[in-house]
Symmetry: C2
């Protein structure tokens, strides 16, 4: 139920982080691209095949020490339907290796259309009586600007099919405050959105005290992260912005509870491009990714209590 499976994986790996797979072509080692471009040309197919190879090799090296991956849909859509096929294959592969998958799609719509997104990304599609899984992630990021009509279609899947959603509350970017920090009465917009997360999650509670409705709260705003952790005791946080965007481990620790739980911190570029920073052989990119995953984990847990429910 809800994020219980994710929480169990975090405890098992003692690692509250998620690796973002946002595979810009420039991140991918030349030898992989050269091989695929030779076979398929500089085409969407060539790019999509290169990305899939890259993703699988990263997953092979990290699946035993990281609980989850977070593919960002935009970086697959930019390679057309061939890229979207690679998104599906990446999710399938990560799940086969026992990882939890959060599709970062920030989807939003209402009623039947939101049901279609829910079916696509975390549910099943009914094809004239045959139930088929389109993308099959465990969780999806969503945007709550449209209100309850945009969230309720997801809640049934969360309850019945053991899935979760992360609603954008306070995002990590510089201009997030233009709307999100504006005051409604004495509460900022992000606080109002956070309260809605608690309400939406009330009927979909997991056994560890967190509901199926999580929130995205950026690492770049530690004060708000602390404030939201206190205000939203049943809402699990997905925390982007660590590392490349400037969020540090001490700030990130504000998003966690007294059991070292309640949040999962994302890192994308620093892991995918670790081989560039290390200046090692590009063929060692996946091993460099593993080293960065371990570095990040040690950095973050050094500010946390032991991750445990006992």
């Amino acid at each position: 139920m809800s994020f219980d499976r994710l929480i169990e994986k975090i405890i098992k790996t003692q690692n509250p982080t998620v690796v973002g797979l946002d595979p810009r072509l420039e991140y991918i080692p030349e030898y992989i691209k050269a091989k695929k471009f030779q076979k398929y040309g500089k085409t969407f197919k060539g790019a999509a095949k290169a990305i899939l190879t890259f993703n699988k090799k990263i997953i092979d090296e990290i699946y035993d020490i990281v609980p989850a991956i977070k593919p960002q849909a935009a970086y697959y859509e930019m390679y057309g339907w061939e890229g979207v096929k690679t998104l599906a294959k990446t999710i399938e592969y990560a799940k086969s290796m026992g990882m939890y998958v959060i599709t970062d799609g920030k989807r939003n719509d209402i009623g039947a259309t939101m049901e279609a997104y829910a079916a696509a990304h975390i549910g099943q599609t009914d094809i004239d009586g045959e139930m088929c899984e389109a993308f099959g992630a465990d969780a999806l990021t969503v945007n709550g600007y449209l209100g309850t009509d945009g969230i309720s279609p997801l809640l049934e899947i969360c309850r019945n099919a053991d899935k979760g959603i992360f609603v954008l509350v306070k995002t990590s970017n510089k201009s997030s405050g233009e709307l999100q920090d504006k005051l409604i009465g004495d509460k900022p917009v992000y606080g109002v959105m956070g309260d809605m997360c608690e309400q939406w999650g009330a009927g979909a509670m997991g056994k560890y005290g967190y509901s199926s409705v999580g929130a995205v709260v950026g690492a770049t705003y530690p004060e708000q992260l602390a404030e939201m952790r206190k205000a939203l005791p049943h809402t699990f946080f997905l925390v982007p912005g660590y590392g490349a965007q400037g969020g540090g481990a001490e700030g990130v620790s504000k998003g966690f509870d007294e059991n070292g739980l309640g949040a999962i911190v994302n890192s994308s570029r620093a892991v995918m491009c670790a081989y560039k920073k290390e200046e090692c052989d590009e063929r060692d990119f996946a091993k460099a990714a593993r080293r960065e995953v371990i570095r990040m984990k040690e950095d973050i847990i050094s500010y946390l209590p032991k991750i445990s429910l006992e």
Copy 2:
């Protein structure tokens, strides 16, 4: 530039409406589905092929009397990458018939990730020096909750490649007010978002007085539509909620300016399922769609001044 091409098509057809192609499988005539399922099974491929056939036949019957189509991404994603391939093929076909295409994806993210969505849907993708078009729509719906960081990556494409975006301002659904109607000082959230549309559009103005940054304002809230039309003189409106959701032609007319321009009204289900309402032979579904398009156009323009810039 901006929505100029759309405005010219609206004037030429004297029709300020757009047909939403949100092809739920249950909307598609049995004879089309039976043929594709026989060939490909009840699979994503079978469903995707049926949807493409359906869409093309609708486009064939309406391309000369409607300026634009609006495919809703969710209904393609629910059929996996095969469905997303049908989205790409539908856009390609509509453009080959001279139609303007608005992809309804409500995409949102920041920085490089939003650049990826922009490249995917209205721009081009750089594959190691080869520029390729992934989906190639003329405009994209977006969600502005993340602020300027989520919008600015789109503006360059809007300016240089003659494309547009529609930002969610006041959506048509019942619960849209939960956040959008809340007051920030004396202005509702949707008003603040509307003001941002005017600011974002200021550097990307078209020759008919409307910028590249449009807004989604629902037909179900005619008062807010009138209020926004007055407050946002350079912002072109995409108006969902006519018909099935309860918005009437008189209410919708509040979104237009004194030239009968400034807005385009969407109808999806009523057009796609016109053959069901008419109870005609399902093989006449596309001709029934054409009849509904004409009915809707006559209904809406009866409340407008003559559509003209002269």
